[in-house]
Amino acid sequence: MRTLAHLTSLLRNLFRRKQSDQDLDEEVRSYVALLTEEKIAAGMSREQAGRQAKFELGGIERIKEQVRDIRAGARLDALIQDLRYAIRMLRKGPAFTVTAVLTLALGIGANTAIFTLLNGIMLRALPVRDPQQLVLLQWHARKAPAFDEYSSFNDCATSGPGDENPWGCSFSSPMFNTIHQQTSVFDGTLAFAGPLPLTVSGNGSASMASGEIVSGDYFNVLGVRAVLGRTIGPADDAVTAASVVVLRYGYWQEAFGGSPSAIGRTIRLNGVPFAIVGVADPGFISLTPGKTQDMWLTRSIFPRVGFREGWSRVEDAGNAWLAVVARLKPGISAAQAQAAVGLLFRNELGHGSTPLVDPTSDPSIILLPAQSGLTGERRGYEKSLRALMIAVCIILLATCANVAGLLLARSTTRRREIAVRLALGAPRMRVARQLLTESILLSVLGGLVGVLVAFWGVHAITVFVSSDSLQRFNFALTPDASVLTFTAAVSIVCGILFGLTPALAGTRIGLAPTLKENAAGDDNPSARTPGFSLSSALVVVQIALAVVILTGAGLLIRTLQNLKNINPGFDSRNILLFSLDPALTGYETAQIQNLYRELQSQFAALPGVISASYSSSALLAGDLSNGKITIEGQPDPQEPYDVDQLSIAPSFFDTMRIPIIAGRVFNASEAVGNSESATSPQLDAGKPWPPPIPAPLLVVINDAFVRRYFSKRSPLGMHLNRGDTTQSKTGTTDGKPRSRYWEIVGVVADAKYNELRREIRPTVYLPINGGGANFEVRTTVDPTLVIPAIGAILARTDANLPLSRIRTESQEISHDLFQERLIARLSSFFGLLALLLACVGVYGLLSYDVARRTREFGIRTALGADANAVLSLVIRRGVVLSVTGTIIGGASAVAGTRYLESLLYGVHAGDASTLAAVAALLTIVVLAACYIPARRATRVDPMIALRHE
């Protein structure tokens, strides 16, 4: 009731202000009239009564003002008034306003842009119905369950080999079926795995695509609809179901031109016919952020597509390969559900026909929110993003310090105005509020322009990111509601931050001296001192922040430079790379070997090609495989040595130009007959180990191997024993490693394997035999020019064999350094921005200072000071500021850049030469900024300056 009355009167005051004003006026007038009549009745003359009544009233306007003040809308009135006044003041100083708004726009825009990135990559909600109900199942145990096979596809964080209390999020198909039947805590469960490579034929020339394997409920539980046709349903996930596939919207656009007639068409996946039944909603790319696949097929159908041998055992309880996501029933807590599925997990693993887990290892399930649990590609960006976010926050602080400095200088020139207002009885808070309103208005304007800056920034980043030809950037980067909320919050906090100090300092002034000052030269020393030190402090802060950002940027640039200067150990120029996987199209191992050799000789004979080779994975492509070995004749170490392994064709070293140091390379005939293909990209970690044969295999090792394990002894002819490998747990029988002899026939120089950052580790090069391979073609011309010829050779040999991942080695390297380039570029941009802000700050402060001290400089010149003396007077101040700022900034940079350590290469946080370079750069630039106002000081004409009085 009371609030209602309040509200109605507030509304009335707001919207019917004029009317309620008139109302009040009339009321007061009627009071006067009544009073006059009363006095007439008491015997006064009309005229005298009127005068007396008005006298008793004491001023109609004053009463009206008092009434207005107590109205509910009074504060709002004051705010509107403040705003109007603020707009007027900002209009009066357009140069100041534009400078401040632009500075703020840069600071807020940079923040918004990086936050958009952060939001798009880390925070954006999963693109499904009610994503907050979805949970990801993660298993934990004190000792890893003895799964026969374990595959994960970069959906979530998984413990490494050495971790105590291992964890992971892959489950077997029977385990998923059991969980799926548990309907008391979940409204639905789904499983998925992949993406896995597929060859597509029956739609133009053969091509490669990727497919995700999903359970039948996948789309229903997620609430993802088909934009065309239908999605996969539970009925499709049966051993007897027809082979159907659902396409990703983007793939449908690319491969089928978005034609509706694609629905119902049959394509061949790995040679098996599949009917296209639908296209998924365009908003849904993948459940796991940053991952992508071209199509979805169900888990009971996909063994038909003839993947490598291991995938035939997808129903085994010992084969963990599915990620499981469930939708919690409303009203069921995560803890309840956790207990329920934990029990299922323990039973399934511990009480099956062959127990996979020791009950004492306490296996359990933890339910993670799917939003944060499904990390996907995010993890790779996390550190860089965090560093960038810190950088833009520092930029924002520098911006605030800068604008605070501007405002402070301005409030000093407005001291007379403020003093007059205070003298006329305005409360100090009221004046401070007025100043604060101005600063918030400024920052809101800055925020609006900042959004434009952010749009541009995000666009520039997206363009840069998509310049990486080898990896699609699968995150949507558009400012959404949360980004705009963030910007609004930043703007207002910023406005308060930079407005508060000047507002408080500006209103803390001695009235009498300020009012007594003459209008032109307010060089009253007592009044100057507080403003002086505060604005100096603000400039020092800006310089210090610039030093911190520049140091960070410097370290990241040095890192990039160091990485670029790494000698990879092979000649990376003029090499074309591409991948083939004939096994997907039905080739047997022996056939593959012949096919590769045939293709190699044809490629090498092409004009413009020097040589060609192939290996299980390309160098610096991110793929790595390793395994454990022991060395015969050496005392058995406690743990077998962990070495890198790469399977290659004999011509590999020749093509890559890796020098042979000792011995020789196995030749083609020696490589035949050994089905010992030791390597596979880690992505395909789920494939089983081919059966070993106990014949010695000729291998080549690298120099690092020799240095590490054969100190000064010749390794040639030495034998190596395969230990357990990290690739496969089926390689061991009865817990003991099988003996497989490798004989070392040669030593080659060191070369980088999977990425530039990783140190070169002891490596064994084995003869390649079958499996997917990556070809390397060394050319004399631009490598991309031979692509058509290579395509033609392939088409002639087998039209169903798709080429994939065609790229040059240089592209591969630039992809390897992509994030480093992105972050180095962004951070140096931010560094320059901070430097610019610091310059503007110094310049502004000194200019203002010089203008204020005109008379002083005039007197000095008149008394005989020469130009140099005056110049040094001003510059000295700049030097003091920049040295103080640099020292403070340098110290903070040494402490602060420690957080960057994990991003650095070949340089350490607090690197002295980087700091020195930054200090030098900053000093030079700041001195340049000082010089202009200093010159102006020397040009002061004593006559004019003194006549000014």
Binding site: A5, H6, E26, S30, L34, E56, G58, R71
Partner: protein
């Protein structure tokens, strides 16, 4: 921001305005005269404090104002107590009783 130092007096004025309106509706001058009358001239209510008080209490929902004719046919704004106003008068009266009792005791004991 309510003017704090005059809180007690403000409350007293409010209470007296409410009291004077307890029996019948009145216009501003009428209220002032009524207060003078019942306090036997101890309280002279000035328009500068009367109007802000009236408007504030109207806003609080204790009073409602309507335009009407005075005894000599002049338009005047008449104020009337609302139910909330009556409740407020009751609590104010109780509060005042407690305070005056306390003050009286304090003065007696000294």
């Amino acid at each position: 921001m309510p003017p704090d130092p005059t809180n007690l007096l403000q409350g007293t004025l409010d209470m007296m305005i409410l009291k004077s309106l307890a029996l019948t509706e009145m216009h501003g001058l009428g209220i002032a005269r009524r207060i003078e009358q019942i306090t036997k001239g101890t309280f002279q209510v000035k328009p500068g404090s009367l109007f802000p008080s009236l408007h504030r209490m109207e806003q609080e929902g204790w009073l409602t104002g309507t335009w009407g004719e005075s005894e000599n046919n002049r338009r005047a704004k008449y104020y009337k107590l609302t139910a909330a106003g009556r409740r407020q008068l009751e609590t104010e009266t109780k509060r005042w009783g407690r305070i005056s009792l306390a003050i009286a005791r304090a003065l007696e004991t000294s």
